[in-house]
């Protein structure tokens, strides 16, 4: 399927093993090519929601449809290859492999998708880490690590990008630069994106802003009026 995957959430609920109900009966549809920002107070369940969409965790109730197929209907290998080919992730806690060089870390998705590896170096330069290809993650600052994670998420031109606080560790200037890069990549590839953030400025780079509360996902419009 060449088209951007459509994403549909129907009545999602999730509670953790300790009995804490995080999401309940949440529904939302993400149109093709849409780039949205999700905001909400800490602990409300934003990261949990992203994990569910990505198929990294399973909901207690409800359905998640990607490309017209329900997630739980795919077997693990099918879900994995969907993730490998079409999804890009940026985590709140970076998550890079500590024993691989930066170049190797960024090249991972290319390697897994049998794509030419040259783009890994380009992406590293694009996030401002040219010349540090052979460094290891332990030699980097928090903001630099986040940039590696962003380069890795975009390198294989995924069709859906899920970003959890991608710029939380960056200074405002760099953050804007990276966010513009993200937006450009998403639009250039005709991809969709969900970015979770606490920053108004970051949210403003998206097409629209959603607010996650205990009651569910609601549009927060117009974004710009809040800034002023």
């Amino acid at each position: 399927m060449k088209n951007t995957p459509t994403l549909e959430l129907c009545g999602i609920s999730k509670a953790y093993a300790n009995g804490r109900q995080v999401l309940s009966d949440l529904s939302y549809t993400l149109a093709a090519g849409e780039y949205v920002a999700i905001m909400g107070e800490s602990g409300v369940g934003k990261s949990t929601l992203l994990n569910l969409i990505a198929g990294l965790d399973v909901p207690d109730a409800g359905e998640i449809w990607v490309d017209g197929v329900e997630l739980s209907a795919r077997d693990d290998d099918a879900a994995t290859s969907l993730r490998r080919r079409h999804f890009g992730f940026i985590f709140q806690a970076f998550h890079v492999l500590p024993h691989l060089t930066l170049l190797q870390n960024v090249a991972l998705p290319l390697l897994l998708n049998h794509l030419p590896l040259d783009r890994a170096k380009q992406m590293l330069s694009a996030v401002g880490l040219q010349g540090r290809e052979q460094d290891f993650p332990r030699q980097l600052s928090g903001g630099e690590l986040q940039r590696v994670a962003i380069a890795r998420a975009l390198v294989h031109r995924p069709r859906l990008i899920l970003a959890d606080e991608p710029t939380g560790n960056l200074d405002p200037d760099t953050a804007q630069e990276i966010l513009q890069l993200m937006r450009a990549e998403i639009k250039a590839n005709d991809a969709a994106g969900i970015i979770v953030t606490h920053s108004q400025a970051a949210a403003a780079t998206a097409d629209s802003i959603l607010l996650l509360t205990k009651a569910g996902l609601h549009p927060l419009n117009p974004a710009r009026s809040h800034v002023s």
């Binding site: 994990n51 990505a54 990294l56 965790d57 399973v58 693990d76 290998d77 994995t80 290859s81 993730r83 490998r84 080919r85 992730f89 985590f91 806690a93 970076f94 998550h95 890079v96 492999l97 500590p98 024993h99 691989l100 190797q104 991972l108 998705p109 390697l111 897994l112 998708n113 049998h114 993650p137 332990r138 928090g142 890795r152």
Partner: protein, 849 residues
């Protein structure tokens, strides 16, 4: 190509970052394989050599005729030579003689001489025919010529033309070395001479040891054997070469099996260490695997990657182990000989033969165990949901499955049931199985036990508001009990095996010492020769000895080897004065015996060792026949005594009974009790001036005790070696698991340092954790090891060696070992922690995993 590249990146990254742990795992695998392989090599070398030597001695013969006693009347020879169906009969006389030049060596001082008839032997046993000097062909028949095998030449440092003094009983004969036995088996120490000369020189006139038969073509061996057995009187045995091999096999089987099991135990320790390091390292990488899953690696790809890494580890470790094992075996054979000091194969000097099949087998075993160790956690890591697994600290969830104690308890229960089962094919299979189950059950029970203990302690200490450090250490142990339990496994297994072996060896040694004190009551023992078959003092000589001044009491002893079953090793018969009213005064009796009133007048009482009961069913009160005379005579088993000296069985009887039945009056040993105030030196000096004085050897019980214990200690050298290796492996395990844990906790330490905990405090916390954990492991290991030693002492040993012993626990040694282990563990925990704490604190906090 892409997939291989990724796989290589991951492998390189991991191995470069954790060099120490990889090396520790390699050493663990290598040690385990090395121990198993070296003991296997030693065993096969010894047994191969021994059976090859037996074969070359019996040569091309089809059948051999022997008697139940060492020798028989040579009148049988013409009968067999002219027997229908026999092509050639070759008479052989086998004599063990002492070599005076070698007497200072208590174990290795005899030479086996084969007397042969050259004209017959040349067709049946050509390997045994000597090669005389050129132009002196008649030396083959000369009555003062002896031919030595290369090994014997080397041992005696003799060359052609030398004169060689040899001694049998009180008589010394000097023979001329006329040549060699070029085709004798390598390492085999024998001599050959003309049979007539041998009979004459060594007082064996008119007797033979065996007759080798070559049958005419077309004669059926089995049928001929059966017919001949019927035809000959009962004291003759007709054996095929196969019987001989079985006998050799039987003789060393129990010993070899025990060694093999020890090797397996060592292998198990190694395997467990590999297993626990693999589990911990896979757990540590759980978040990384989760990330790879997020990025699109399928479950199978993750599983394959982990297995690929561990099989590489397995191959490298096992290859290293094979090399190490070979070196170890070569060294052990060089130092101790083929039986590692057990005393079974002292006539031969084996060399290692490397069989490719065995090497491949051990290689596969090593790789298999390594793979198994990572398979379980790899499977778990591949199946986990990526999102929860990404969070650090998620490993504990993965391990909660280990908390159910039931499988462990079932293992332990099964072990107890198995101890009640009898041996199979004379081997304690169920006993060994019970030992394995006890170990596995103990290890499997650890996680739930650890959780129980430390969370209990944590609660108690919390209420007592203990110091922050104690609370931190306990909190860690209470909340991550499964990892603690896995780390504990290495300590537990090695300490447990150490305890088991130490208790068994101590019990055995002390039982042997008691036994020696009991069976050697006299002050001095006098012998003419070390080997027991030899005829010793004539009645005249006995009188002369008894008349020596200073002697209060004297017992003469006649001992010889008899064959009760041709497929089993010979049984030792000892005839000596035995206290009629209470045999317990003379023998270390085990249980109830018949009193003199219960012995019927027509039967001769005998007292048998425990092995006789197990092997030949000689129960108290049973009527049996012994091959001592041609006349029919009934013997009755009057009691059972404990014998650590002869595991193939021994029988004691009154010397007077023996002399009545056999009319043989010579004895080979005298036990002397001295009058008050007389020193052993005085009596020995008096005996030395007798006409045959220079042929006597004297033994004082203290010396005998020392020599016996020396032989005993030597045969347990292997056990001690394994014990040491087990300790090493255990400490390696402690080091590996603590350093793995410390590495995983870099972040935690960094955080603690940030909130103001000093380095010293962290060190103390680590030492406390290590000490608490090891202390617990040692306690459980002690209990388990005690259980295993009970099985070894009361099940395995009686079933495989046919002797019982009393339990002795070497507390001192065990406490020292426990303390050493505790200190070593606390120290390792500290050292491992130092590495982690010394790192960059800022970086530590930043790094997610």
């Amino acid at each position: 190509m892409y997939r291989n590249l990724l796989s290589r990146w991951l492998l390189q990254g991991e191995w470069q970052a954790h060099r120490l742990q990889i090396v520790a795992a390699l050493i663990a695998i290598a040690l385990g394989i090395a121990m198993g392989f070296s003991i296997h090599l030693i065993n096969t070398a010894a047994v191969n050599e021994f059976s090859a030597a037996v074969k070359s001695l019996s040569g091309q013969s089809d059948l051999q005729v022997r008697a139940t006693q060492p020798t028989f009347d040579e009148m049988l020879y013409p009968l067999l030579a002219q027997h229908e169906g026999v092509a050639i009969a070759s008479p052989v006389l086998e004599i063990q003689v002492a070599v005076p030049a070698k007497l200072e060596d208590d174990r290795n001082n005899t030479l086996k001489i084969l007397g042969i008839d050259v004209y017959r032997a040349i067709t049946i046993t050509p390997d045994l025919v000597g090669v005389p000097e050129e132009g002196r062909a008649f030396d083959m028949l000369s009555d003062d010529a002896i031919f030595l095998s290369p090994a014997a030449m080397e041992w005696l440092e003799a060359k052609q033309g030398d004169r060689l003094p040899l001694r049998l009983g009180t008589k010394t004969v000097t023979l001329r070395v006329a040549g060699g036995l070029v085709r004798a088996h390598a390492g085999q120490r024998i001599a050959v001479m003309d049979i007539g000369a041998a009979q004459w020189h060594f007082d064996h006139i008119g007797v033979l040891s065996r007759i080798d038969l070559k049958l005419k073509q077309g004669i059926h061996h089995r049928g001929f054997k059966a017919a001949l057995e019927k035809e000959l009187p009962a004291q003759y045995l007709v054996t095929e070469t196969i019987d001989q091999e079985r006998r050799v096999h039987n003789m060393s089987r129990a010993y070899r099996i025990n060694l093999n099991v020890l090797a397996l135990v060592a292998l198990f320790t190694g395997a467990f260490l590999v297993f626990s390091t693999q589990v911990l390292s896979t757990l540590r990488r759980r978040p990384q695997f989760a990330l790879l899953r997020v990025l699109g690696l399928t479950r199978n790809q993750i599983l394959l990657q982990i297995l690929r890494e561990s099989s590489l580890l397995g191959i490298l470790g096992s290859l290293l182990g094979l090399g190490l094992g070979y070196a170890l075996a070569a060294t052990a054979l060089h130092i101790y000989g083929g039986d590692l000091g057990g005393g079974f194969f002292s006539e031969i000097k084996p060399s290692i033969q490397l069989s490719p099949l065995a090497a491949v087998l051990f290689l596969v075993l090593g790789i298999g165990v390594t793979l198994l160790g990572s398979l379980l956690p790899a499977w778990e890591a591949a199946r986990a949901h990526p999102a929860p697994a990404l969070k650090s600290g998620s490993e504990e969830i993965a391990l909660t499955k280990l908390q159910t104690p039931w499988p462990a308890l079932i293992c332990l229960l099964l072990a107890v049931i198995l101890t009640q089962l009898p041996p199979v094919a004379e081997l304690p299979f169920f006993g060994y199985f019970a030992v394995a189950l006890l170990l596995i059950g103990g290890i499997a029970w650890m996680p739930s036990l650890t959780a129980l203990l430390f969370s209990g302690l944590f609660r108690v200490f919390n209420r007592l508001t203990a110091g922050a450090l104690t609370t931190l250490a306990l909190a860690r142990l209470a909340n991550a009990p499964q990892q603690a339990a896995i780390a504990l496994g290495g300590v537990l297994v090695s300490f447990c095996l150490m305890v088991a072996m130490a208790i068994m060896v101590a019990s055995f040694r002390i039982s042997v010492e008691d036994w020696l004190a009991h069976i050697l009551p006299a002050d001095i023992y006098v012998r003419t020769e070390v080997r027991q078959d030899a005829l010793g003092f004539t009645p005249q000589e006995q009188q002369v000895i008894a008349a020596t001044t200073g002697i209060e009491r004297i017992d003469f002893i006649r001992s010889l080897q008899i064959t009760l079953d041709p497929t089993r090793p010979t049984v030792t018969l000892i005839a000596r004065p035995i206290d009629k009213t209470d045999p317990g005064n003379t023998l270390p009796m085990t249980d109830t015996a018949l009193n003199s009133a219960e012995i019927p007048p027509e039967a001769i009482p005998i007292w048998v060792s425990e092995a006789m009961v197990d092997l030949y069913d000689y129960r108290v009160g049973k009527r049996v026949a012994l091959p001592l005379s041609e006349v029919q005579q009934d013997y009755i088993v009057a009691g059972v005594w404990r014998d650590y000296g002869r595991q193939f069985g021994a029988i004691q009887m009154q010397l007077s009974d023996y002399q009545k039945v056999t009319s043989e009056l010579q004895v080979n040993e005298a036990a002397l009790w001295l009058q008050d105030g007389v020193t052993p030196e005085q009596v020995m000096a008096a005996l030395k001036v007798l006409p045959f004085g220079d042929t006597l050897t004297f033994w004082q019980p203290n010396e005998i005790r020392a020599i016996s214990l020396k032989i005993f200690d030597r045969s347990f050298a292997v056990t001690y070696l394994l014990e040491l290796i087990a300790v090493g492996v255990g400490l390696l395990g402690v080091a590996a698991s603590f350093s793995a844990q410390a590495l995983r906790r870099v972040k935690e330490f960094g955080m603690l340092r940030h909130i103001g905990v000093t380095r010293g405090q962290i060190y103390r916390m680590l030492a406390l954790e290590g000490g608490l954990l090891t202390g617990f492991g040692i306690t459980i290991g002690f209990l388990l090891g005690g259980g295993i030693s009970l099985i070894l002492i009361f099940i395995v040993n009686p079933q495989s060696f046919h002797w019982t012993m009393q339990l002795h626990v070497p507390w001192q040694w065990l406490i020292i070992m426990a303390l050493a282990m505790l200190m070593a563990a606390a120290l390792t925990a500290l050292l491992a922690g130092r590495h982690a704490v010394a790192g960059n604190v800022i970086r530590a906090v930043k790094e997610d995993w």
